[in-house]
């Protein structure tokens, strides 16, 4: 770890720095997100549009800045979500794997602490997530779900709007130093 200390402390290189989290947080937060998605929408219907597991994936991938971590993270959350769904295992897994990978890759090129960047990235990944899920369902499962770009954009914007404050809260869980 020592060879990176300079990178780590250098202010200009801050965007290359990986944030660290407690293992407990890394397990508990996605679980909470999945539980939220499974449980809450039955009381508040509109919340079913909220893709918390996805936002959590994006957040951790962005902040960890490691594509490998992003991949494993995305796959983990996706598969957990799959196993609570009624479709074949792997659908959310693949989509979220890709999201994790791309988010981590992005993090190396953008200032991920910036709220505007976060908003845009969250929006982008939400849209990508919905779209790619649809593509997968169509191509792999032959499910003829309809893709409504307009609705997807609106949903993605909503998610992005939630993402900014949510990421801000999650920032507090970072292990500094």
């Amino acid at each position: 770890m020592t060879e990176f200390t300079d990178t780590f402390t250098e202010p200009r290189r801050k965007r290359d720095a990986a944030s660290r989290f407690h293992t407990a947080a890394i397990i508990a937060i996605p679980l909470a997100a999945i539980l939220f998605q499974v449980y809450v929408p039955q009381f508040i219907k509109y919340l079913s549009y909220l893709e918390l597991p996805l936002l959590v994936t994006v957040y951790f991938s962005l902040m960890r800045r490691s594509p490998i971590a992003g991949v494993l993270f995305g796959a983990g959350i996706g598969l957990a979500q799959d196993s609570l769904s009624s479709h074949p295992l792997g659908m959310f897994g693949i989509v979220k794997t890709l999201v994790g990978y791309f988010a981590a890759s992005m993090s190396q090129r953008f200032e991920v602490e910036n709220s505007v960047v976060r908003l845009i990235l969250a929006f982008f990944f939400c849209f990508f997530h919905q779209f790619f899920y649809w593509v997968l369902a169509r191509a792999l499962l032959g499910e003829g779900l309809d893709f409504d770009p307009q609705q997807t954009i609106v949903v993605s914007m909503l998610n992005a709007a939630v993402a900014v404050p949510l990421f801000h809260i999650l920032d507090k869980l970072k292990v500094t130093g």
Binding site: Y39, L72, S86, L89, Y101
Partner: protein, 366 residues
């Protein structure tokens, strides 16, 4: 080389992760198989958490509702009364029991009254993802739940069990497009098939145009499908239109009207009779919920003999009609067929004129 491997380590991990999941998917799609074990683990792991949350929420909301009742009794009373009225109208079984508006209690009462053996279950989650309308309930094979069991509320049918895990089950809701159940109309005993549409309404399919179904009429389960025992309310007809070859009937499913929190899973179904037109428990003077655009077919006690004996509307051919016509002529003229009697009947007698009086006054012909 090492440099290259290092350089593409991330990529390899990504591709490996995707490949692994694709193989997993391919296995499921190709063998039509289930990776049950993973699901069982996941569901079993999540269930206690979800159950804990649900019971906490229940307790908290009860506490708060009590608290607010105390805080603003009048306001809450009003709201409760309103709620009560609604529930009262919707719920045919529990009208006298609703003083407390306690759903749990009414569920228990229904459970004890229902001839079928049921177990109560809490809904602890929706399945994630789009498409199927499925919920998770906190009862599984450990409680005797099996696949294809009926799930109901006192208000009506909810769905059927499609997947069973030790501590939880997945319930396919009646509104899902792949859901179907046998139903029968209350008034004319018209059989049909209830099908989900993906939205909030359901349809009743395979009802011939000749059959008589009215808006506002209720459909009950018919017991034909082997899932639901006969006699459970399914929903109320909101619209009926003659279609190309069969009627298009839209139903508002009654099982969902009061939100879904607790449901009953029918472990051992017992067929019950379809309630006669004046709904069961007549001591309470509430008709089945009035239809939005009142057909006003039978107000209150005016429902004399139940029309349940109406003959099935099997189409008649011309041959049947002509035979009937001649039979009527024979009756009108007191003709005994194939007997010498008073000679051959007049087959050109206008039937309407002949019917009322014995002395026929045939319409004057030129």
């Amino acid at each position: 080389m090492e440099y290259l491997l290092n350089r593409y380590r991330t990529l390899s991990v990504l591709l490996l992760a995707i490949l692994a999941q694709l193989v997993l998917l391919a296995y499921q799609v190709k063998s039509n198989g289930e990776v049950r074990l993973i699901r069982v683990w996941a569901v079993t792991a999540v269930t206690p958490l979800a159950r804990a949350i649900e019971s906490t929420r229940g307790a908290v909301s009860r506490f708060f509702s009590d608290y607010f009742v105390l805080l603003d009794v009048r306001e809450e009373n009003k709201r409760l009364k309103k709620e009560l009225d609604r529930v009262n109208m919707d719920n045919q079984y529990l009208r006298s029991e609703l003083d407390t508006a306690d759903r749990a209690k009414s569920l228990a009462i229904f459970q004890s009254r229902s001839p079928s053996k049921t177990i109560a279950a809490h809904i602890i989650g929706n399945t994630t993802g789009s498409g199927a309308k499925t919920v998770i309930v906190d009862r599984g094979s450990a409680s005797g739940v099996q696949k294809e069991m009926a799930v109901i509320t006192p208000d009506g049918i909810v769905g059927k069990v499609v997947d069973v895990y030790p501590t939880a089950s997945f319930v396919l809701l009646a509104t899902d497009p792949s859901f179907a159940a046998g139903v029968i109309s209350q008034k004319n005993r018209v059989h049909g098939t209830l099908k989900g549409q993906g939205g909030t309404k359901v349809i009743v399919d395979y009802v011939q145009n000749e059959e008589n179904v009215e808006p506002g009429e209720w459909f009950y389960t018919s017991g034909d499908d082997g899932i639901f025992p006969k006699g459970l309310p399914a929903g109320e007809v909101t619209s009926v239109h003659p279609g190309k070859s069969k009627k298009e009937i839209i139903l508002s499913p009654s099982g969902f009207q009061n939100g879904l929190e607790e449901v009953l899973i029918i472990i051992e179904g017992v067929h019950a009779p379809i309630p006669e037109l004046p709904a069961p428990h007549q001591q309470i003077h509430v008709q089945p919920p009035p239809p939005p655009e009142t057909s006003s077919a039978q107000p209150g006690g005016a429902s004399g003999p139940p029309a349940a004996t109406a003959p099935p509307a099997v189409p008649l051919s011309d041959a049947d009609r002509i035979l009937d016509r001649y039979r009527q002529l024979g009756i009108a003229e007191k003709h005994e067929w194939g007997v010498r009697g008073r000679g051959a009947p007049d087959f050109n007698l206008p039937l309407d004129a002949a019917k009322p009086a014995e002395a026929p006054k045939p319409k004057q012909n030129q």
